[in-house]
């Protein structure tokens, strides 16, 4: 077990983010499968930039040194679409031109062949989060909580190698936030995905239950 887990961990090796010469943030950490590393800090502390670096879509204005690895594979120069990073943003970002089911089916890897098989997989994914029968719905007609669940399932069916969560709960109301947090973290753990969570809400960090790195104060836990 330990070996497989090692193979799928996510490593940030001496990652430092600078903007016009000033170091915003420096991190070095290995995140085990199913583990959540929380980066906490105020806006402008470079924490979202870290996610952009990990996801492969960094604004060229930033200078970053260091590497990112999954297991032993160095992803630093790998284009975004070959990294298989599952991303959740503050907004669910469901594609408005596709149906709810279409959003999920879009994410299913091409290895799953056949319209029927893909649709069945998408319907099952919706069923799993209590959205059975929502396949043909317009995403715009869903509630905030429902959208968040669709976004989560869309990400999971794509078979990601790690998760990048960019304050994904901050726009949900209190009751929904607790529920969605539990859902996301339990799914990430069950799927054995190393996860980086970026937030300014300490309740998020607590719920994540992993290590917390506070930035902005230059302090590493």
């Amino acid at each position: 077990m330990q070996e497989i887990a090692e193979a799928k961990s996510l490593t940030l090796a001496d990652v430092a983010i600078r903007l016009t010469g000033r170091t915003l943030l420096a991190v070095s950490a290995t995140i085990l499968p199913g583990e959540v590393l929380t980066i906490m800090g105020p806006s402008g502390s470079g924490k979202s930039t870290l996610l952009a670096f990990a996801g492969g879509f960094l604004d060229p204005a930033f200078e970053v040194s260091g590497r990112i690895l999954v297991g032993a594979e160095d992803l630093t120069q790998v284009p975004a679409n070959r990294r298989h990073a599952g991303i959740l943003f503050q907004d669910p970002m469901l594609f408005p031109h596709l149906s709810v089911g279409g959003n999920i089916a879009f994410a299913i890897p091409p290895a799953v062949k056949g319209h029927k098989a893909r649709r069945a997989l998408a319907e099952a994914a919706l069923e799993e989060v209590g959205l059975g029968g929502f396949f043909d719905r317009d995403p715009e007609t869903l509630s905030g909580g429902q959208k968040a669940r669709v976004a989560l399932q869309r990400l999971l069916v794509s078979a990601p190698r790690f998760l990048l969560l960019d304050e994904p709960f901050s726009k949900l109301d209190a009751a929904l936030r607790q529920q969605t947090r539990e859902l996301v973290f339990s799914k990430a753990k069950a799927a054995g995905l190393p996860t980086i969570l970026v937030t300014h809400d300490s309740a998020d960090a607590q719920a994540a239950g992993g290590r917390v790195i506070e930035v902005g104060s230059e302090e590493e836990a």
Binding site: F53, G55, G56, F57, L58, D59, P60, E63, V64, S65, T76, Q77, V78, P79, A80, N81, R82, R83, H84, A85, G86, I87, F89, D91, M93, F95, P96, H97, S99, F106, A107, P109, D138, P139, E140, T141, R154, L155, S158, P160, L164
Partner: protein, 573 residues
């Protein structure tokens, strides 16, 4: 550092091709070369070099011949003055209006009134104005015979007055909506509300408050379009034929006439004219440059003088009235055109026709079938081609406004079309290319692409990048992301860009006339040809059909998403 940047993933082209296709370089090839080739094609024959017609020796005879043409200086100066006055007036109206009303309720209202005016072809707008102000036009009919005593149309030189006043009025009414839209696109980048509060607190009136705080920044953003307006107004042909001076006409009109002479030797004369016209536009730009400098000094003086112009109510009302006036005049004129197209007997000075009839329409429509078909085929192909190229360009450089390359967009709009299009005609003629659909289409494309690209680039930049990041995270390749995410999400913007391109192509007169050598007729060339002594009823039909085409295009652009995404609420608005 060589880390991943915005464009994720491998590039689907090999290295040399990739460099060629890298946005700006491609733009140089597509827009820069033809324009420069066209200018060269006009300049060389001006000095006698045109091997296809046996001209091999450099000579000044053709320029001397041009100078011998009667009233040629007057022709050139009239166009120059009309262009400068038009540009200044349009800019003053738009500037004062934006300064006086940005962020208010009235602003949005007038914006909705003025914006559709942009889609009205120049020729149709000119006819609309002509039908209002002509001696037998509607305004005089309203006032006759009670106020004027006229029972017959007076013998006035209107709308073809020698001072080009009607032409200036027609041009202003079309350039105001253009500059307004350009200013509108620049406004979000300015802190309008904050500057208004700040200057109001200092006791400034709205207009001067805007002027001292935001105008320099706004003007910097719209400067290139202003120069495009200047180049266009100094060199305009179709509007000048319809409502410009006649004895003599402006230089661009005379060049177009020489270029159309059956006697091929007249092309040397036309070339000499095209060269002088190029110089005239350069002179206009130089004068404008000096005027800009004076403007800057005046604004600086005004700013440091401490004057507040707190009571600017009258100025604001005037600007709003002039803005509204442009739209009301042209739309009233278009209404009048429709009335004429269906009018039975309509003697002067009756304000309304005695009867309505479908006779003109029934008689004219069959003749319109071929030009209409050509117009639509040209406009659709040019717009689609331009959209494809625009998407390719934006995809290659990520929608960034990259300095020099991006400015190249304006090149076909800054060089007078009579000069470079005429040059292209000569080049095509020399190369033995006979006028055909393809060559006219190629020239239409040059004029359509800048507008399509300008129309698409703002929505392209503004699309939330997170959609594409998520898709990349899901493992989609850049091309998959383009076709399955970006383009569907920009569907409405693409349709609008198509409609813009379609309208530009429909309204093109000179490129169709020159490159098509009169063998390819469109609704626009037909309409302008009717200008001298044509039957008002037939003109009414032509001008109406001509201005309906762009409106239909924009209608399709706004209904398309409604139909295609009936079931997707977020895609319909």
């Amino acid at each position: 550092m060589g880390l991943q940047t915005e464009s994720p993933g491998p590039v689907p082209f090999g290295m040399p091709l990739r460099r060629l296709l890298s946005g700006n370089a491609l733009l140089v090839v597509i827009l820069g070369l033809p324009v420069l080739a066209g200018v060269a094609g006009a300049i060389l024959p001006a000095f006698g070099y045109l091997p296809a017609l046996g001209g091999r020796d450099l000579t000044l005879v053709h320029l001397v011949e041009l100078a011998r043409q009667p009233h040629v200086l007057r022709s050139a100066l009239t166009g120059l003055a009309a262009g400068l006055i038009t540009t200044f007036a349009a800019l003053a109206i738009v500037g004062t209006f934006v300064a006086g009303f940005a962020g208010t309720w009235a602003f949005t209202r007038i914006q909705h009134l003025v914006s559709p005016l942009l889609a009205v072809p120049h020729a149709a707008a000119a006819f609309a104005l002509a039908f209002l102000v002509a001696p037998s036009g509607f305004l005089l009919r309203l006032a006759s015979p009670e106020l004027t005593g006229f029972t017959r149309p007076p013998d006035w030189l209107v709308p073809n007055d020698p001072y080009a006043l009607s032409m200036i009025a027609g041009l202003i009414s079309k350039e105001v909506p253009f500059l307004f839209l350009v200013a509108l696109a620049a406004l979000p980048q300015l802190a309008v509300a904050r500057a208004a509060r700040l200057t109001a607190a200092l006791g400034y009136g709205r207009v001067l408050g805007f002027g001292v705080s935001l105008w320099p920044a706004l003007y910097r953003q719209i400067r290139l379009p202003v120069f495009a307006v200047l180049a266009y107004s100094v060199s305009v042909v179709d509007v000048a034929i319809i409502i410009g001076p006649q004895l003599p006409p402006t230089l661009p009109v005379r060049i177009a006439q020489w270029a159309a002479y059956p006697d091929l030797d007249a092309r040397f004369l036309a070339s000499a004219g095209a060269l002088v016209q190029l110089a005239t536009v350069l002179a206009a730009m130089a004068i404008w440059n000096v005027a800009e400098r004076f403007g800057r000094i005046a604004l600086a003086r005004l700013t440091s003088s401490g004057r507040r112009l707190a009571e600017d109510g009258a100025l604001r009302v005037a600007a709003a009235l002039l803005m509204t006036g442009c739209a009301v005049t042209i739309f009233a004129g278009l209404g009048l055109l429709s009335l004429w197209s269906a009018a039975g007997l309509w003697p002067f000075p009756d304000a309304l026709p005695e009867s309505l009839t479908t006779r003109t329409w029934l008689r004219t429509l069959p003749q319109l079938r071929v030009p209409l078909g050509t117009t639509i085929a040209l406009a659709l192909s040019a717009a689609l081609l331009a959209l494809l190229v625009a998407i390719l360009l934006l995809y290659r450089n990520g929608g960034r406004k990259n300095g020099a390359g991006y400015r190249l967009l304006y090149l076909p709009l800054l060089v007078p079309e009579i000069s470079f299009v005429f040059g292209l005609q000569i080049l095509l003629f020399s190369a033995g290319v006979s006028p055909a659909f393809a060559s006219v289409l190629a020239v239409h494309f040059l004029f359509v692409l800048p507008y399509v690209l300008l129309s698409l680039s703002a929505p392209w930049r503004e699309l939330d990048p997170r959609f594409e990041r998520i898709a990349a995270g899901l493992g989609k390749s850049p091309l998959e992301i383009l076709f399955k995410v970006r383009l569907p999400l920009l569907f409405r913007a693409c349709l609008t860009a198509l409609a813009v391109g379609f309208s530009v192509s429909v309204s093109l007169y000179l490129p169709t006339l020159l490159v098509g050598s009169g063998r390819l007729t469109t609704i626009t060339t037909e309409a302008v040809a009717l200008a001298s002594g044509g039957d008002r009823r037939v003109i009414g039909v032509h001008a109406l059909v001509q201005s309906l085409l762009p409106f239909l295009a924009f209608l399709v652009a706004s209904l398309g998403p409604q139909l295609l995404f009936r079931n997707r609420r977020a895609m319909r608005t």
